[in-house]
Every structure is written in C-alpha cells, then in structure tokens.
C-alpha cells in the first residue's frame, strides 16, 4: 500500500512514558509529538537519560512491562500503543524496522547471518528459505558487504563491527519498510567505520525512500543525515528545527549549548572545551517551570514557575522557551 507522502507514516502525539508507583513516579517521556514521512529523516538529539531511546522503544512496543504510556503512536494510520502483539508482530521487522546501537549484542550469537536475515523474510514475506537466501544475498550486496555468500554462512562474532552494522542495516531493509528507526547506529563503532555507516545510511535513504528516525547525541552525525531535528531535554521536545538552520538559527539555549559543546575535527579549540554546567533533572522532578532553567544562563523568575510550550503551534520550526535566542 503506497502511503500518501503528505501523510506522515509515523505520527507520535502527546506521548508520555512513566515508571513507578503513582506516589513515586518517574516521567521519562513527557508529552512528545513527532511526525515522520516516507523519504525524510528526523534526528532526535539529546544527552544520555533524556528519554530519546524510550520514545522509540514505545513506538516499537519494546518498553518494559512496567511502563505506562499515554498519548498516541500511529503507524500508517494504525494505533500502535494499544495494538495486540499479533498486530505489532505483523508490522515490526517488516514495515517498521529498527537498527540497534550495538550490532554484536543485537544479533543472536548462535545463529548464522543467513538464518537471521532469512527468518524475517520467511516470516513477513512468506518466502521459502531458498528465496529468502537469494534475497538476503542481494541485500548484503546492496549494503556493500565484500563477500556476501560467505557472510551468510558466518556467525556474528566472525564479522567485524562495521560488517555487523551493515548486516543490521540490511536486516532492517529486507521488507522495504516505511520507517526505519536507528538508535545510535554508530556509537558502538570506531570513527573510521562510523563514516562508512553514515554514508551507507545516506545511500540507503536514497534507494529505499523510507522514513528514517535517527537517534543520537552526536550533532555531527545528525547534521550529516537528518532533514529535521527534534531536540529532547528531560523527556520533552524543546526545539524542532530544520538541519539547515542548526548552525545559524538554533533558538533554544539548550540547543545552542549543545552546538557550542560539540568538538570539531577541523576547528582548533582554545583552552578547555566548553561544557554545560550542572546536571539534567532527574525524571522524578515535577513539571513546574522549564526543566532547563537551572542550567540556563538566560533564565529569569518566570522560567522557574511557568513551563514554556512549543510555539508557534503546528509550525515546522518550534521552540519551547520564554526567552529564545534571536535567530
């Protein structure tokens, strides 16, 4: 079923994820809304513990059984949050695929690559194992694995880190998904391999025209791949902006601080690297005021009591700040 490109394939509305008892609640995702169309790439940036991974785990239905969710996650018009396991299993791996951070941990250690790729095709595309092998071989070729025939017969531990991530990417693309979620796809790899994987992801976006959700704390990676960026702080989206605007017109002080702190390979840093003082708030804190206020140089009395909403509403570029930087 071709999806109308105007309609987002993945639409997250007012999603919240909570853990713990009502008396002692941890709110790790707060009121997050996102939309991803086919062919576009949304980057989600935030530091460790900001809740960016929890957002995608909620989308994939992979949250811990204790998690409570509110809001809505719609995939091609189907509500995923309340969906049965059977519905999820029909979509997951086929039309909604995920690339994990550490491919060595995400590939089952005792199964050959051919089996792990093949079982997805057998399951979702109703192929025979012979057909599945052919398709897997072709897909491994497309992700530029040098000897795909041999790779099919190998175990995950016999491959290099880069090859394993290529296999993961091939696996996610097998059934020509509408949306691929990549959770820190290069974090577990060394720098030279990172660049190759980024190139590969970019090429695959061109080829498959899937919507890509890219999660990272690495602004450089996001800037190189994404079209739009959602900046997440303490479980909330604090700014939505186009990648082109990132360097010139970031308006939220947190986004500006992230850019400030990003090390560059070319630019020389004078003295100490800039850092952002303070700690992000814990997920137990209440929702009063702006979560970033305690670390913000521009904070005023109002920031401590009144929480800024993303504004302007329904715009592509939004910021949640009472005193945004002028673009």
């Amino acid at each position: 079923m071709p999806v109308d490109s105007a309609d987002p394939a993945l639409q997250v509305d007012a999603l919240s994820v909570e853990y713990g008892s009502p008396a002692d609640v941890s709110r790790v995702v707060r009121d997050v809304s996102l939309a991803v169309r086919r062919g576009e790439c949304l980057g989600i940036v935030g530091e460790s513990g900001s809740g960016k991974s929890q957002i995608v785990l909620a989308v994939m239905g992979l949250l811990d059984a204790h998690a409570r969710t509110r809001g809505s996650v719609k995939f091609r018009g189907e509500q995923l949050l309340s969906a049965t396991t059977a519905t999820l299993n029909r979509l997951r791996g086929a039309k909604l695929a995920m690339i994990f951070q550490d491919p060595l941990a995400a590939l089952t250690p005792h199964l050959k690559i051919g089996v792990q790729l093949g079982e997805i095709l057998v399951r979702h595309a109703q192929m025979s194992w012979r057909e599945a092998d052919e398709r897997s071989l072709a897909m491994l070729q497309r992700v530029r694995i040098a000897d795909p025939k041999q790779c099919l017969r190998q175990y995950p531990h016999e491959l290099s880190g880069g090859m394993r991530q290529r296999v993961m990417i091939a696996m996610s693309l097998l059934c020509e998904p509408d949306i691929v979620i990549a959770d820190e796809p290069t974090t577990a790899l060394d720098v030279t391999v990172q660049a190759q994987i980024v190139d590969l992801l970019r090429a695959m976006r061109q080829d498959f025209q899937m919507g890509l959700v890219l999660i990272s704390h690495d602004l450089g990676l996001i800037a190189g791949l994404a079209d739009r960026i959602a900046v997440v702080y303490a479980g909330r989206v604090v700014e939505n902006l186009a990648v082109a605007d990132l360097a010139r017109s970031a308006r939220h002080p947190y986004t500006a601080a992230l850019i400030e702190c990003a090390p560059t390979l070319t630019g020389r840093t004078q003295g100490r690297m800039p850092t952002l003082p303070g700690q992000p708030p814990s997920p137990e804190t209440s929702d009063e005021g702006c979560a970033f206020a305690p670390r913000c140089a521009r904070a005023q009395a109002r920031c401590g009591v009144e929480r800024p909403a993303l504004s302007p509403p329904d715009a592509a570029t939004q910021v949640a700040c009472h005193f945004p930087l002028s673009p």
Binding site: M60, G61, L62, A65, T85, L88, N89, R90, L91, R92, G93, A94, A97, M98, F100, D102, A105, A106, L107, T108, P109, H110, L111, E119, I120, R123, H124, Y155, M171
Partner: protein, 281 residues
C-alpha cells in the same frame, strides 16, 4: 554454535579425568548390554549346587552367587542396565519438560511466571517417597511407574535452572532485536533463547543422571522400585546388605559398581562444565 561445541570437545579431550570417566561410563554401559550374553547363566536361574559362592574365575559364577544361587555377574550387569536406563530416561524427560516449562515461565515473566513457579514449589514440597508410595498404591508395581515418578520429581530443578537462565537472556539485546523483527514469542523461545541455555542444561543433565540412578537405587533398596526376580543396583545392594557379614561380595560388587558409576558421571559432568564455561575453570 558448532564452534562452541568443537572447542568444548577439544578442551574435554585435554582433561584426563573427565576423559577417563567418560570411557569408564561407556565401558560399563556396553558391558551391561553385552556382558550377560557372555555368561552361560540367566539372571533368574537358580543354581542349587552353588548358593552364596564367592567370586572366582574357576567356575561359571565370575562374581559369585547370592543366597539362592543366582549368578551375580549377570544380575549385577542386568541391574546396571536397568539403573542406567531409568537414569537416562528420567533425565531425558526431566530435561524436556523442565527446559520447556522453565523457558516459558522465564520468558513470559509477570503473573504467568509467578503462577508456574509456585506450581513447581508445591510439587517440590511433596516428599518423593510419599509420592511413589501413593502411585504404587493406586496403580500397583510397574516399571513404567518408577520411570515416571522419578522423572516427575526430576524436572523441577531443571525448570528452575532454565527459568533463571532465560530471565537473564531475555534481557539481552538480541532478544529485543528479535521482538523488533516481529518474531513470535514461541519462535524466540525456541530459536533465540533455548539454544543459549543448552550449555548449562547439558552440564546439569550429566549431573542429573547419577542423581536419578541414586533415586532409583534408593527406591529399590526400600522395595518400592524394581521387583523380583528383576534386579537393579539398588535392590541388589538391599539383598547384599542382608548378607553383609556372611557373604560381603553380594553387597560389595553392586555397591562398588554403583559408586564407580556415580563418581564417573560426576567427574564427567564437572569436566563438561569446565569445557563449556572455560572462564570459570
């Protein structure tokens, strides 16, 4: 997987104790199959000319005879075969049932897990002897009953072990990735979880066999197990214990064989564990 097993086999070959134990087990098992054919006596023929004769190679009773003149060589090997068969069968059943049960409980988690494990605890609260006497009273003496009652008790520990392993594997990212790939729970248990548990289970199995043999011997010793004229190591030991002072060989031969067998299984199991989990050795 094949790499793991061939590496384990190589390490096992380098362990002289485990290797010797393994060959001894194989030797005893083969002997228990072939041995009775080598001797002219039958396990229930009574040789009235030679009651309670000590072991000797000069006559046909190589291990001597018991009080009724039955040949101990044939009876001991016959008993060993029955004991081994019960031990292996009970272990196989306990592994199949226990591994599946434990994997389902551990993978499902939550309420189902609690329910299933409480069931295991209730069953393990039942004393084995009580259970066997109860079954015997209900259904009478039957070899199959002995197999089943031992297996019924044996799977409980396997279930606990496999559940524990499953709990830790379930947290691993490759299981999450398999869920994200749309695999069904049953397929994940079968293809992604159970093969990872096999190493532990195999080691546990080799340590279960002697335990099961001991159970069977214990029951037979009490007269609840294998019935006359058939013999198992346990019932032979019981017979021997009655004649211990006058004819010690009737006790020592099956008793010694049982001890050697149990020791070998335990040593082999230890060696296998070291081979499969080399970091801990």
């Amino acid at each position: 997987m094949s790499g793991l097993w061939s590496a384990a086999r190589d390490r096992l070959r380098l362990n002289p104790v485990a290797r010797t134990a393994f060959y001894l087990i194989v030797f005893v098992a083969l002997l228990s199959l072939v041995g009775p054919l080598l001797n002219p006596n039958h396990f229930d023929t009574l040789d009235w000319a030679h009651p309670a004769t000590p072991p000797s190679v000069l006559h046909a009773h190589w291990f001597g005879t018991d009080r009724l003149g039955r040949d101990l060589f044939v009876r001991t090997l016959d008993g060993t075969r029955i004991s081994l068969a019960i031990g292996l069968f009970a272990t196989a059943v306990s592994l199949l049932v226990g591994a599946l049960y434990g994997a389902i409980a551990g993978y499902a988690g939550g309420r189902l897990d609690r329910l299933m494990m409480r069931g295991v605890e209730i069953l393990s609260g039942l004393p084995l002897i009580f259970f066997v006497i109860f079954l015997t009273v209900l259904f009478g003496h039957h070899a199959l009953l002995l197999f089943l009652s031992i297996a019924a008790v044996g799977w409980l520990t396997t279930a606990r072990i496999v559940r524990g392993q499953t709990l830790s594997i379930r947290r691993q990212e490759f299981v999450e990735a398999a869920i994200a790939g749309g695999a069904s729970s049953f397929r994940i248990i079968r293809k992604h979880v159970l093969p990872n548990v096999i190493g532990t289970v195999v080691v546990y199995a080799t340590l279960t066999v002697p335990q099961m043999i001991l159970y069977e011997s214990f029951l037979s010793f009490l007269g609840l197990g294998v019935q006359e004229p058939h013999a198992s190591l346990g019932s032979l030991i019981a017979d021997g214990a009655a004649e211990m002072e006058a004819a010690p060989w009737i006790l020592l031969i099956p008793g010694g064989l049982l001890a050697v067998l149990l020791l070998c299984f335990n040593l082999f199991g230890d060696g296998l564990r070291d081979a499969l989990e080399p970091r801990e050795s």
